[in-house]
Amino acid sequence: MDTSNPAVFVNGELLHMHVGRRVRAVIQVIQSDNVGVTGKSTDGLQVVVKGILPSFALTNFVEVIGISDGDRSIRAEMWNNFGNTFDTDNYNQLCKLANGEFKHLFI
């Protein structure tokens, strides 16, 4: 893991807290075309991802690492397929812990 360039775990709600910073989010892909990917964040919000688009077919759930572009939008740098089933509740809890009381434990 590249610790010099950390990416904060975020859900849709938390994106605006990190505008301009590197974030990571798992989204459920709703629509994907040559302009970008629209998906649902782990807290059920619409998130639009543009920037570097994936060169491979996306699974239902994907992790996207990139720069928070403000409300509900990410400029992607890296994509990871997370498969077709994923426990979004757990991930959402993790996002909250990583931005809340246990922030200090996360880079």
Partner: protein, 669 residues
């Protein structure tokens, strides 16, 4: 049957919601697009309309008449995109709910300014209850047809002033729509909608309002605003709301002297709720006027941050009435203001609810335990009564009644269950407790409704009577732990030694999450007697006698013997490593194939490569091991024997849930 479109669906979608799967009406359909055929809908949520493009794969629905002008549809997958600086909804998947329907409401074109004042808050998100932002109007109601959520009841009936908890619905009236702003007039015909235009434009002072000089005096009567728009920076305001609960008059004695205080809760026609508190002389003015169920016009008072420890209403402010405040009873009943507002959670969702969160739940009472006296920490005695609720989510939960609830509602419920009747119980403002899985307990502001008359209750009743009674349910109480076993005791590998497990008279049963790090591949199984003794297999080790097998215990010979695991393995977690023994079933769980198959591979086929592959494929897998630990005498030596009773491949999802639960518990300490 009247249909209610999902309130504020359009504003919510513009605010980023992709989750609520709302019901909307198609007001118009237009074929557009020069190169490609595309359909554009005008959709309505009964308050607003907006254009929505249909994904081309849905074109056929229009062509074949499966959706037409007037149809009520449920949007399944949809997004909101900006095209030429205009927001447009793109419908990717939908279902037609009602093909032909008269126009509902009197919707206006949705405008961007509204969208900035609407904060989309999907109600499926337990952890973020609808937060009422001071400068925004909250979304009014968040009804989710897939996930029965909030609604309001109209006539819950009597309320005892003495005890805010004893609110029963002996005389409940008709249920009304989920959306307070699109209520049907209660006595109107089915198709006549009592449509009320959207409330006043959302109140929107700039955040730096206070720096803009003094507020001009205006002696005209204050405008009635929604409770949700109340904020401390308003000079004059009035609200019209129903009292949903009235607290006891309490006397206090603190450093500043003696005094008295009482509070009551308000609900308005937009679903906004707020607590009102009065002190001392103000108590004398208003205590007797306030009656639960009545509607009042309230003006002048100061807004202070709500004390979240005691006040669980969805509002960050609380009203403090002052000498100049006015509280006027509205003599005429205002049917647009609901009697109560619920936001029921399915029991399955409570499994993931945060500890100490306050929520509403409705279920069938399937068992009631007797009331027992409990000594409180402060030495006072109180009553406790535990009952079990189940709902259509396939889960059940323990509800703990405290104090007066035990003898009033609790007694009534017990009498019903004792004669074989299982009542519906709605719990308003129960508190989630995560001791032993998840349980719900009453608090002083909890209200219980036995067999209330609203759709949620009727649906439950119907479900229960038509088979739900016999449907298997999993309790989220005590059984939430990963592995699913009751009273599971989690230990680390090093704790087995450091806590001296197995040294007591009885064996210790513990659960350990660990990796298999080594499997002894010699003598991993033994030849066992396949004969039955009563209803059990003999399983004694047999010896070969010529071409046949012989059991000393059974004193018999047979052609084929059984092969059973007797597996020695090492398991390891972050704290240490230990040897364990696994017999037949758990051995098979660890190796993923029967002992006989592995025996044949190694000793008959002598396929060491394949055999090695199987062993290696199981090593470094993580399992939840249920272990039996007991010290045994081997010759002169006492040795702790650890037996694997069950080896379950780790389920990362449920294990994460277990760990999150552990984190929230450690936070409490």
């Amino acid at each position: 049957m009247p249909v209610n479109l999902t309130p504020n669906a359009i504003a919510a979608i513009n605010g980023g919601d992709v989750n609520s799967k709302p019901l909307v009406q198609v007001m118009d359909i237009k074929l557009i697009g020069s190169t490609q055929e595309r359909y554009r809908f005008l959709i309505s949520d009964s308050v607003s309309t907006q254009h929505a493009m249909l994904a081309t794969q849905l074109n056929d629905r229009v062509k074949s008449g499966r959706v037409k002008k007037g149809s009520v549809v449920q949007l399944i997958d949809y997004i909101c995109s900006t095209v030429q600086n205009r927001k447009i909804i793109v419908v990717l998947n939908m279902e037609t709910i009602i093909l032909d329907c008269e126009p509902i409401g009197n919707p206006k074109m949705f405008t961007e300014s509204e969208s900035t004042t609407q904060k989309a808050t999907p109600n499926s998100n337990i952890e973020h209850p609808v937060r009422v932002n001071n400068y925004n109007t909250p979304i009014r109601g968040s009804f989710n047809p897939q996930n029965p959520g909030t609604f309001n009841t109209q006539n819950p009936g009597s309320f005892s002033n003495q005890n805010p908890g004893s609110f029963t619905t002996s005389n409940s009236g008709t249920f009304r729509a989920s959306n307070p702003s699109t209520f049907w007039a209660p006595n109107s015909g089915n198709n006549v909608q009592g449509f009320r235009p959207t409330v006043q434009p959302p109140y929107q002072p700039p955040p730096n309002y206070r720096n803009h000089g003094p507020i001009l005096k205006n002696e005209a009567p204050a405008r009635i605003i929604p409770i949700a728009a109340l904020n401390p920076y308003q000079g004059r305001w009035a609200i019209k709301a129903r009292v949903t609960a009235k607290g006891d008059l309490r006397r206090y004695n603190n450093a500043r002297g003696d005094g008295k205080v009482f509070s009551f809760d308000l609900l308005d026609s937009d679903g906004g709720e707020i607590r009102v508190t009065c002190f001392n002389a103000v108590v004398d003015r208003f205590y007797d006027i306030i009656e639960v169920g009545r509607v009042y016009l309230i003006s002048k008072g100061s807004l202070k941050p709500a004390q979240k420890n005691f006040n669980h209403l969805k509002n960050e402010w609380e009203i403090f009435l002052e000498a100049t405040s006015t509280v006027d009873l509205c003599p005429e009943e205002d049917a647009s203001i609901p009697r109560q507002q619920f936001s029921f959670r399915p029991i399955s969702e409570i499994e993931n609810a945060e500890n100490n969160s306050i929520l509403d739940v409705i279920g069938i009472v399937i068992s009631v335990n007797p009331s027992v006296p409990i000594l409180r920490k402060n030495g006072m005695e109180t009553q406790r009564r535990i009952l079990n609720l189940k709902d259509t989510s396939g889960k059940s939960v323990e509800l703990t009644l405290w104090g007066d609830f035990c003898n009033k509602e609790g007694q009534k419920l017990q009498e019903m269950v004792d004669v074989g009747f299982f009542p519906v119980l709605a719990v308003k403002a129960g508190k989630v407790n995560d001791f032993n899985g998840k349980t719900i307990g009453t608090i002083s502001s909890t209200q219980l409704f036995i067999n209330p008359d609203f759709p949620e209750a009727r649906d439950l009743r119907e479900w229960f009577d038509q088979g739900g009674k016999n449907a298997a349910t999993v309790s989220i109480t005590r059984e939430i732990m990963a592995g699913g076993s009751k009273n599971e005791i989690r230990k680390t590998v090093s704790q087995i030694k450091s806590e001296g497990l197995g040294r007591a008279e009885k064996p210790d049963w513990v659960t350990v999450r660990a990796f298999i790090t080594f499997i002894k591949s010699d003598n991993f199984c033994y030849t066992a007697c396949p004969l039955m003794i009563g209803d059990r297999q003999c399983n004694k080790k047999v010896t070969q006698a010529g071409n046949r097998w012989q059991c000393d215990r059974c004193n018999q010979e047979f052609d084929e013997c059984d092969y059973r695991y007797l597996l020695q393995a090492q398991i390891q977690d972050q704290t240490g490593l230990t040897w364990v023994t696994a017999f037949q079933e758990s051995g098979e769980e660890i190796l993923g194939c029967p002992a006989k198959e592995l025996y044949m591979l190694k000793y008959e086929l002598q396929d060491d490569i394949r055999f090695g592959e199987i062993i290696r494929s199981r090593v470094f897998n993580q399992y939840l091991f249920r272990l039996k630990i007991k010290e045994e005498l081997y010759g002169d030596e006492q040795r702790v024997k650890i037996t694997v009773i069950k080896a379950e491949q780790l389920n990362y999802s449920s294990e994460s849930r277990y760990l999150l639960d552990l984190i929230s518990k450690s936070q409490r300490k």
